[in-house]
Symmetry: C2
Subunit: 700 residues, 2 copies
């Protein structure tokens, strides 16, 4: 790919190949859009059938174009696209937007064409957007370019918008326009034969007209590269992602719990959070988020104050805050006194502060000033009063002055109306990025988004494995298993493998004869657990291949006999009897699986019956930093079970974090491992040990 | 209260007391609204200061009014409201709307005034709306009445809207207008000194211009009456409730788990569901729901088909369906074949069916016809194509024809645009009640609402207690406890009490001496549990007042000794030792508590540590029908733990239902009971028995 995308997005000359004066012609529409948008470079229609199109002299072929064309738009029959690309390459036109459809999206023949297109891109080192796309838009002051057939040319602004879908991209451009959200660049990626979202992320990181990046994606071109880029650009510019499309769960049979519990969408969630991108799931949420992030101001905490002249709307806002886990704390006595000094006796001095319908602009200014002294952010609800006239612009000016005095505290304004009457309030606020919404619940949704954005800004720290790792030792174990022609591990092999990555495994002994069992019982003391160990044996519990709570020598001998019968009846190859000391503590489950899109992913959950019934698990995509692992642990619903609970001390979290980061590292270091299940891991206030394990290699 | 509300909502003559020509006068605004709305009855301003107001002759006093005035609007100084009400009463004006504020909402003095107002209402048998309200609106063809100071006079329609709040009421009227939702009646209840939401529910049940009822409430005047009324009217007219306002949890200390787990909002949820009302929580959801319910058509199942000309929007709709638990099933091979016969090869024949941008109106009609053969409902996404022109009204006509052919299957239409260009599509669809939305996620939210509405339509059946009950026997036990001067029950008293309502209690024996324990062990067999029983002893486990897993005579003697020490150290009054056979099965918790607003409420959850950590519980307000109780049991997240699981058979549900309905009945029969905790109840595939119990009476 050619260096830089300036020639693509700021071309001095553009050729529109296929341009025709016919109504409804795509290339003609694009040419007209280029003329109408105020593009000030040279425009060259290319079409052998015409000598002039839309008042411009028309060139018969690409070869006949003058030198110095930076960008060619191809909107021509599929059958001649490759020739045209080749002609561009020869001519030295290095930036192309291929509008034409009928490639990889339309079956086998199209896919072959796209393969060949890819070859041309490589050969001539081209920047290609598309094929099967709507085009690109630049709405910069210095370069207005509508190289698309979109009906909507957005007003300039800070948002750069990269969309995999054309129709949804155009829908969103219309929505942005309705909402008054300015867009600086729009790119519809289409099939991504050449340029991908990652190329544009790299470009936008350095683009000083871009203040925020919004991506609509149905899949990721290269998730690891995406993560690296967003991790970087996200530090200065918020990256908002609307990721649509459920990936079907892999059809391959899985032996692990981890595999069966993995939900593709939960992994997407985890991945985007790890990248530092803010995920949105609906069009409305997209608009709410981009509006909220415009000012670049995040609340320091979750204490929200609500100021209103309409009681019911204040209550709806407070309800929504509580539902979203935001706090609407009571006001201090002093603050209530200060408010009472200027508000009428009918005013409600709780939180929300209901200044009732007679509230004037000076009440808003004074009240907001006071509330922001105690709260991290404020929702201001102003509905123009019914009976007396209060100039809406005066209310706006007061809010603006408070925003200047409190530049650290987000203010969200809510008008309870879509009507034009509130425009004089809304417009000046939006000019400085203070978000305004019609509905109180939307303002609360915006606050929740700001809180999520704050969580993303926290430094995630290194993803280097915590604790010592011995990759060679682990690789040696793996090689032994492979040479034995197995995919599954014996327990002792698994223990050796995991120990090399600092994952502790519960002490155990193999029992060749009954006497060894008795010696082990004497050595570690009761109670013991006795298990059948065989590399092909998953789900021991369900197969009666496990006896727990062995207290006495007699019970141990009974258990040995019983499990020998099980081995015989299951016809297990090379099975052995394994004894462990039963350890008390809380049951956890950890796992590693391979997501088809994101690669090695680690699962964490509370073990036992709970995890299966409630699917209350958290995911992380490798590599996983300690901070990310800590967040995974705390994110499960049942986390309170790990805290100090019913007299038991809290479970120590660093050992859990260590297991998660180590599993992630194992997933990256050994692509030949298909899945790992540590179920259960027993944890207490001192540490965590794997009591049972399952490791499987990929089949040939 | 006077019979009927016709005089209030369809008055032949209206007096506006306090009317003045001054700009910004509330009464003047109301008089003007009455003139402007097209009210065709007689209008009488009343004000001693003027001889004429807004062109109408003005009366100096209420007494001076001609006979036959049906309705008086009072918008006068608070100090003269009571005199005016009295004058109306004497004059025979039986319907009043009191706009004036400063009553119960504004402190002690106002509350006293409202008490006196209440006396006048009783004395003269008046229909009073308010005080502290915005007024009432009737937008019927036969009687247009804007007796309010609202800026918005809604277009006529099927929705009757009763709002406790004035400002939010007016906000919603504006929103309804913007959304083209017609409103037949609007009432702002204000302080509800006279008429309440229940009076209007009774009226609206018989009002043939009302097709759906929407209530905004911050509290319920009389929940039991509300339930009776909604249960009735909800059978023919959907009742949608936006209930705002978190009730603070009661400050009283509670001994039971039930009390500590009760969340006021969860009880509101349960209550409204039991009433048969559809709860909404935001203004947007209100609009979505009223739009969705307009046609009165509910899907028979959850299989949704999506038809689109914009791929991305189809995916967003499918994602939202999956998130909401709706199904987007793959299409049958035959159906795919039928679609392929007329769609281009680039079309996507999964579900969503992506007909791509070239789709014509006939494709929409044919495709929708085919999809509705397999699905329960369809989302149709049509965005006017960018390049060629497809008349939007033709797409609408096709959808209309399919709707006629498939009158049993809801169709929801989504335009991806708020612009006027889609109006020719939207308007005819809305005329027949086919809901249209801009965004795909809103269409899916509407489908979720229709699904909830369908669940509400199921007959809930009788709330008669399941199984035999002996109220007298239970009352006798309660009387014994009361006479003993206690609030708490001994275990044997509790067991007797519960048994009278058919709630089984685990067999037990009191141990006076060690030998009785041994006899009990011999009789029922190990393992036993031994407990300290004392009426003031809650949370036995945390106080070591419990020994489990007693297998042998020796262990029993040890346990007896240990618990005697506990009794001595805790200085428990009249404590005894209680032995029970330990029963295997799944641990559940049931409870009864009293909600300050809704009265006796029953809680159900999975017992053990889970219930405390996850607060995964369900509530029901007494009386509870068997169907409602069954829904409670199935509604908890951990319900899969009660189904066939890890080789254990499924827990039998009828015994759980019986306990829930019986607890509800106990709560209604014995108001003197403050709370009951059955924790745990052990359940298996045959039945459920209470193993421990706590019953407390209310203090003096």
């Amino acid at each position: 790919m050619a260096e830089g995308l300036e020639g693509l997005l700021e071309p001095r000359s553009v050729a529109v190949v296929g341009a025709s004066p016919k109504v409804g012609s795509v290339a003609g529409t694009i040419l007209k859009n280029l003329q109408d948008c105020g593009y000030h470079g040279n425009l060259y229609p290319v079409n052998p059938k015409y000598s002039e199109v839309l008042g411009l002299p028309c060139h018969s072929t690409i070869g006949a174009l003058p030198a110095g064309v930076d960008l060619a738009i191809l909107a021509i029959n599929r059958s001649i696209v490759l020739d045209a690309v080749e002609a561009c390459g020869r001519k030295g036109i290095l930036n192309l937007v291929i509008i034409t459809a009928g490639f990889k999206e339309s079956g086998e023949e199209g896919a072959k064409l796209e393969e060949r297109l890819h070859g041309l891109i490589e050969r001539y080192d081209l920047n290609v957007v598309g094929p099967n796309c709507m085009g690109i838009i630049n709405s910069s002051e210095r370069m207005r370019l509508n190289a698309s057939f979109s009906r909507w040319f957005p007003p300039g602004g800070e948002i750069a918008f990269v969309s995999q879908s054309g129709s949804l991209g155009e829908t969103l451009l219309e929505c942005f326009g309705d909402a008054g959200l300015g867009v600086s660049r729009f790119v519809n990626l289409g099939n991504r034969a050449g340029l991908t979202e990652n190329d544009f992320l790299e470009y936008l990181a350095e683009d000083d007209e871009c203040g925020a990046i919004f991506l609509y994606l149905e899949s990721f071109s290269d998730p690891r590269e995406f993560r690296r880029l967003v991790d970087q650009v996200g530090k200065t510019k918020p990256v908002v992602v609307l990721k649509a499309g459920r990936t079907e769960a892999g059809a391959a049979a899985v032996a692990s719990h981890t595999g069966s519990l993995a939900s593709p969408d939960a992994i997407v969630d985890a991945f985007l959070r790890q990248c530092g991108a803010l995920r949105v799931t609906t069009i409305e949420e997209t608009l709410t988020a981009l509006r909220a992030l415009e000012r670049g101001l995040l609340p320091a905490g979750d204490r929200i104050a609500i100021l209103t002249n309409a009681g019911g709307a204040g209550i709806i806002a407070a309800d929504a805050c509580v539902r979203d886990g935001l706090q609407v704390p009571p006001l201090s006595e002093r603050l209530r006194g200060d408010l009472a000094a200027f508000l009428p006796p009918e005013a409600g001095l709780g939180n929300p502060v209901d200044m009732i319908a007679t509230a004037r602009s000076e009440h808003y200014e004074k009240g907001l000033d006071l509330l922001l002294a105690e709260a991290d952010a404020a929702i201001v609800i102003f509905r123009p009063p019914l009976v007396f006239h209060e100039p809406v612009e005066a209310v706006g000016s007061g809010i603006l002055r408070v925003a200047e005095r409190r530049p650290d505290k987000p203010i969200l304004v809510c008008t309870l109306s879509h009507s034009k009457t509130v425009d004089p309030l809304v417009a000046p606020l939006r000019d400085v990025g203070i978000p305004t919404y019609a509905m109180p619940e939307t303002a609360v949704a915006a606050l929740s988004i700001l809180r999520r954005a704050r969580a993303l800004r926290r430094r995630d720290g290194s993803t280097a494995p915590a604790g010592p790792t011995d990759r060679d030792a682990a690789g040696g174990v793996l090689e032994r298993v492979r040479r034995a022609g197995r995919l599954g591990f014996f327990f002792d092999e698994g223990a050796e493998f995991l120990s090399a990555y600092g994952i502790p495994v519960c002490p155990y002994a193999y029992l060749a004869g009954d006497d060894e069992g008795v010696r082990f019982l004497d050595e570690v003391g009761p109670p013991l657990v006795l298990k059948v160990d065989a590399p092909d044996l998953a789900h021991r519990f369900e197969r009666n291949a496990l006896v727990t709570g062995i207290e006495t020598e007699g019970a141990l001998r009974d258990a040995i006999e019983q499990l020998r019968d099980v081995i015989a009846s299951l016809r297990l190859n090379g099975a052995r009897l394994l004894a462990q000391k039963m350890v008390p503590g809380r049951e956890l489950i950890f796992g590693l699986e391979r997501d088809p899109a994101f690669g090695p992913s680690v699962m964490f959950g509370i073990g036992g019956t709970l995890v299966e019934a409630l699917k209350d698990v958290a995911f992380g995509v490798a590599p996983i930093s300690e901070v990310q692992a800590g967040r995974m642990v705390r994110s499960i619903r049942a986390f309170p079970l790990l805290e100090s609970f019913r007299g038991q001390p809290a479970v120590a979290l660093p050992p859990l974090v260590r297991i998660i980061t180590a599993l992630g590292r194992i997933g990256l270091d050994f692509p030949q491992i298909a899945e790992i299940d540590l179920n259960p891991v027993i944890a207490d206030e001192r540490g965590a040990v794997a009591v049972d394990l399952l490791i499987r290699l990929r089949g040939a």
